[in-house]
Symmetry: C2
Subunit: 198 residues, 2 copies
């Protein structure tokens, strides 16, 4: 699917067809999403793909009973784990980089983030993970599926449900499936309201 | 261009061909990007499209002299202005919504954000604007252009240069043009490192 069509036809969908999503489609969505850029290549994003009906039922309760959590065959929890990322910084370093550059990054990145509070680092990771969220929603649509990103949930309860440490941020949860309703048309600012040319 | 191709071929590019970008291409990039979802439909993103050579020269100095700011024919400053968004909340409300729902939103949204500090609201707007950043990078690529999102700059100096109030956040600046170098291949975490199925 073209980028134009994917962006124009994406809607937030609450009612989904009751059919499972093949594993290879989920993997392709996540592979494409993970091509999003990341400052320092840190890629703090981690995904939990929830398909198990019992877990989905518990997630529904933790997510303000959003109907789309119940209706969608798959719900992805987008998390950001900066502590894990920084503890394994060597994984983020491009193998083609000269040895000197690698060494510099291995020392500098932990130093830069070490000077911040865990909360500041956490916020930084959330911002990065939202870039991936933009990618993911387009990737989902390009494979013929629909989605609904949600913010209303109890993060502490989700952490408990999925055994996540307290520093792990949860930027969004995303319901995924095939649409069983049309959804609302876009209502966006006209460009002249939000763009300035200099 | 397909979503797959756009995501796979996007690279961070520092050297650009010295050719201007037609205005209609810039408008199409921004139109597509602005189709990104936004919680409460708040759309806090505002774009400054910098093409003027003198302004670009000043921006280069404010942006740690990133070479791509000099090289790219266009640099977009992605800003987030939650105070403007909330002061004009009626613009965000879908015209098809029933009157009762419109009234509820007009009262509730300012109340919810009014209970937060300007800084908390600002952070929220930054997260939202990063979704648009993901969209924008894909939209740019889909029109045959390349980009480089940057974080290293002096936000205060950029605010001064473009007469932005101090509450305006600057999530990223983005160099745009046609690539004059190949850029680095992607080095991303394998999926099994970042995905858990439950």
């Amino acid at each position: 699917m073209s980028v134009k069509e994917a962006m124009e036809t994406r809607r937030s969908i609450r009612k989904y067809a009751q059919e499972p999503i093949p594993r290879e489609d989920i993997e392709e969505m996540l592979r494409l999403a993970s091509l999003a850029p990341s400052a320092w290549n840190i890629q703090p994003w981690r995904f939990i793909v929830v398909m198990d009906p019992e877990k989905k039922r518990e997630l529904h309760l933790a997510a303000n009973r959003h109907p789309q959590v119940k209706s969608a065959p798959v719900v992805i929890i987008l998390t950001s784990d900066m502590e894990d990322a920084i503890a394994h910084i060597e994984e983020c370093i491009h193998p083609d980089m000269p040895e000197e550059g690698k060494q510099w990054l291995k020392e500098t990145i932990p130093k830069v983030f070490g000077a911040q509070s865990a909360e500041q680092r956490g916020q930084w990771g959330v911002a990065q993970s939202n870039i991936v969220l933009g990618y993911l929603l387009i990737a989902i649509r390009s494979l013929g599926y629909d989605s609904s990103p949600m913010y209303g949930y109890n993060p502490e309860r989700i952490r408990q449900l999925f055994d996540l440490p307290s520093h792990v941020q949860i930027p969004a949860i995303i319901a995924i499936g095939k649409r069983a309703e049309e959804g609302h048309s876009h209502h966006r600012h006209p460009l002249h309201r939000i763009v300035r040319y200099v």
